[in-house]
């Protein structure tokens, strides 16, 4: 094999694409592992699933991507100002993945993801104000300040988090799909993970269960090229791509260009149909890229990758820029409108930060709330209280002493 990379201008080379594609291979039909690289936006635009989008819906999708980007930018500033504690994992660069996949969901479809959660949370319709307040540790936060940046949930929007343990959410997502099937609902669960999570045992156990029991779950690997500072070459063994591991379990899989919203929608739609109509799982590997470090604390963000690589993504492959170009070409958007959208998104993010800033911290007594359902609901039902006696809390820190 020659060591020459395939660099036709319209092809996307992912930093994780360590395969060398030879001239000979070029003439062959592109296999699935490479298929994401050769997408043609104009062809994708003609697909029914993209055609069916109204102008308003298209503008909404574009707007959501911009809202995520501005929200993340604003949270970064708040983090740098010392307002946000712990870790902050930003989603900038990956917006088309959450927005594209979630744009296809219906009433009985569910979503679960890892700690890089803000994009998904905004895409499912969570309000940025309580999200930002959550990061500020405020009582008005979506989890009353109990979860923080990594742990955000909105069960009323079929959104189940927001999980901090790499890969740990994948069995849960499989269980959500199990419940849908058990209840006879035509729905599915999108279970997102990173390219690093794919090496966790829990992920493989979930793959096996999903395939064995034909569960309507879609495993989505957001391959942003790195798990912290480790590139895929240094972490994962595979012949062609990570999604291909699905074959070992007899599952369908595909690769997706995460910079192109239409491709995300097209391939996710196929997987959703498979889940809804045949109750079968799919693994999708969506190639994407994160602009920031792993978390804001990642001081080495430009050490394990080159500055050029980051610039190349921002300049040539940015999902928002590409979508804007496409929509302007389609006559869906004007530059002027795009600017307004951006301005509004900035305002929204600033308002969220103001809301967070002004909100109170939780009262000390609230530390003990939300641990047990039975304690939180004491006094509601004497029968349940009767069954839950005794002491639940063994140290209250004196917060009730007055």
């Amino acid at each position: 094999m020659s060591g020459e990379k395939y660099t036709t201008s319209n092809r996307f080379i992912h930093p994780n694409d360590h395969r060398t594609v030879t001239a000979k291979k070029k003439s062959k039909t592109i296999n699935k592992a490479e298929r994401w690289q050769d997408v043609d936006v104009h062809e994708l635009a003609q697909l029914e699933i993209n055609q069916r989008l109204s102008t308003d819906e298209k503008v909404r999708l574009y707007t959501d991507m911009v809202r995520i980007r501005r929200f993340e930018g604003r949270s970064l500033r708040s983090y740098q100002a010392g307002k946000i504690g712990g870790f902050l994992h930003l989603y900038e660069g990956q917006e088309a993945v959450a927005v594209g996949t979630i744009s296809l969901l219906g009433a009985d479809d569910h979503v679960i993801t890892a700690y890089r959660v803000h994009g998904h949370a905004i895409a499912v319709g969570m309000d940025p104000k309580p999200m930002m307040a959550e990061m500020y540790g405020k009582y008005t936060g979506c989890a009353k300040g109990k979860g923080g940046s990594m742990h955000m949930f909105a069960p009323d929007k079929n959104f189940w988090g927001g999980h901090g343990i790499v890969g740990g959410q994948i069995p849960l997502g499989t269980g959500l799909a199990f419940a849908l099937k058990y209840q006879g609902k035509k729905g599915c669960c999108l279970a997102y993970m990173g390219d690093g999570a794919i090496n966790q045992g829990a992920v493989h156990e979930a793959y096996n269960l999903a395939a064995l029991w034909n569960l309507p779950v879609i495993f989505i690997i957001e391959n942003n090229a790195y798990s912290m500072g480790t590139s895929q070459e240094r972490s994962s063994a595979f012949p062609d791509c990570l999604a291909q591991r699905a074959e070992a379990y007899g599952m369908e899989w595909d690769t997706v260009n995460g910079n192109i919203l239409y491709d995300v929608r097209a391939k996710t739609y196929e997987a959703i149909k498979r889940a809804h109509d045949e109750s079968r799982p799919t693994v999708l590997e969506i190639f994407t890229y994160r602009y920031r470090g792993h978390s804001v604390a990642d001081a080495n963000a430009e050490k394990y990758r080159s500055k050029d690589e980051i610039i190349d993504y921002k300049d040539n492959k940015d999902p928002i820029t590409l979508l804007r170009k496409q929509f302007i070409e389609e006559g869906v958007l004007t530059e002027e409108q795009a600017k307004e959208i951006d301005k509004a998104a900035n305002e929204e993010a600033n308002e969220a930060a103001e809301f967070a800033e002004k909100s109170p911290f939780p009262p000390a007594e609230s530390i003990l709330d939300d641990s047990y359902w039975s304690s939180d609901n004491k006094g509601q039902d004497p029968e349940i209280d009767e069954l839950n006696q005794g002491r639940f809390v063994f140290e209250d820190g004196g917060i009730f002493d007055k």
């Binding site: 927001g162 069995p171 829990a202 039975s374």
Partner: protein
């Protein structure tokens, strides 16, 4: 009242709750077609079929996580560990997702799952198969832990656990599965956090959980017969929630306590109870709180030695005499 085995009592509880609530299903290794590794679920698959009795592959992290996810949507999974000893490969699911998802969501969800199975030594299966993780699990706020010591409690607590809206871990005992107790035919539930006074007494309190409660009762018999000591025997039934009130009332009456458990001593349940007693009833103690536990080494295989490792009545009597 009919005499039935502990095993039968658990099975009856499962059958009644499966029949009562369409959201209840049992999942675990060999629970359906094989009838259960310890025959706890024998006949249930024939009666209720594939949907309600689900054979899972040997994949504890996977299926426990799946159960937790399913419970978020309102199902009430009863997950069987063939042994609680195998819980460690599923610890992340049990203790990060099972116990903390409610909290981290600010109370937006609840996890009505039951995880059950035997957790005991004494069967000569070596250290890997003899774990008693009730203390480890109870260390996690969000989890309820119950340790039924007899068939009556096993049935009543299991039914309570299945109807409960929080995750409940039920730790049973293979040594007790074949033993019989009186169990009424009528339906009953047993509260969590309500200890059972197995024998009233005035001279010393023997407080225990799980099978150690039965051993303590035996020891109380010896103490009465041979030493004229009237011991009170308390079976905690649940570790978390904990019936502190009953413990303290007993201490105030007898002024002497031995805590007995089959678990290892370090950071064991007895350590927590001793701490509470010295903190909240110090003036009522006439002697230090004593503890009897498994001998502090990994569980040994050798048959006669494992008998020594686990507390027996003689060891409890000896400890009681030190402070009486």
């Amino acid at each position: 009242m009919p005499l039935i085995t502990y095993r039968q009592a658990v099975k009856d509880a499962l059958a009644e709750e499966i029949a009562r609530d369409p959201n209840v299903f049992v999942m675990g290794e060999e629970v359906a077609q094989y009838n259960g590794a310890y025959k706890v679920t024998e006949g249930l698959w024939d009666k209720f079929g594939d949907k309600r009795l689900v054979d899972a592959p040997i994949s504890e992290a996977g299926f426990v996580g799946l159960g937790i996810g399913a419970s978020m949507l309102g199902l009430r999974p009863v997950m069987e560990f063939m042994f609680w000893s195998f819980c460690y490969v599923a610890f992340d699911q049990l203790l990060n997702n099972g116990s903390f998802c409610r909290y981290m969501s600010g109370g937006l969800m609840n996890i009505p799952i039951v995880v059950r199975g035997p957790a005991n030594g004494g069967t000569n299966v070596g250290a890997t198969h003899s774990h008693t993780p009730e203390n480890l699990c109870a260390n996690h706020p969000g989890i309820k832990v119950v340790c039924p010591s007899n068939a009556y409690d096993a049935k009543g607590l299991m039914k309570t656990a299945i109807r409960d809206n929080d995750p409940v871990f039920v730790m049973e005992s293979t040594v007790l599965y074949g033993q019989k107790w009186e169990v009424p035919e009528e339906e009953y539930l047993i509260p969590m956090g309500k200890a059972n006074i197995l024998k009233e007494g005035k001279d010393i309190s023997l407080i225990a959980h799980g099978r150690a409660a039965i051993t303590s009762l035996e020891a109380a018999g010896i103490l009465a017969e041979k030493y004229d000591i009237d011991a009170e025997v308390i079976d905690l039934r649940s570790i978390r929630p904990l019936d502190v009130e009953t413990i303290l009332a007993s201490v105030k009456k007898t002024n002497r306590v031995v805590y007995i458990e089959e678990n290892k001593p370090f950071c064991g349940v007895g350590a927590q109870i001793a701490s509470i007693i010295q903190d909240e009833a110090f003036d009522h103690l006439d002697a230090p709180v004593k503890r009897v536990s498994a001998i502090d080494a990994p569980q040994i295989y050798s048959m006669p030695l494992e008998k020594i490792q686990i507390p027996d009545a003689a060891r409890i009597v000896k400890k009681a005499l030190e402070i009486c």
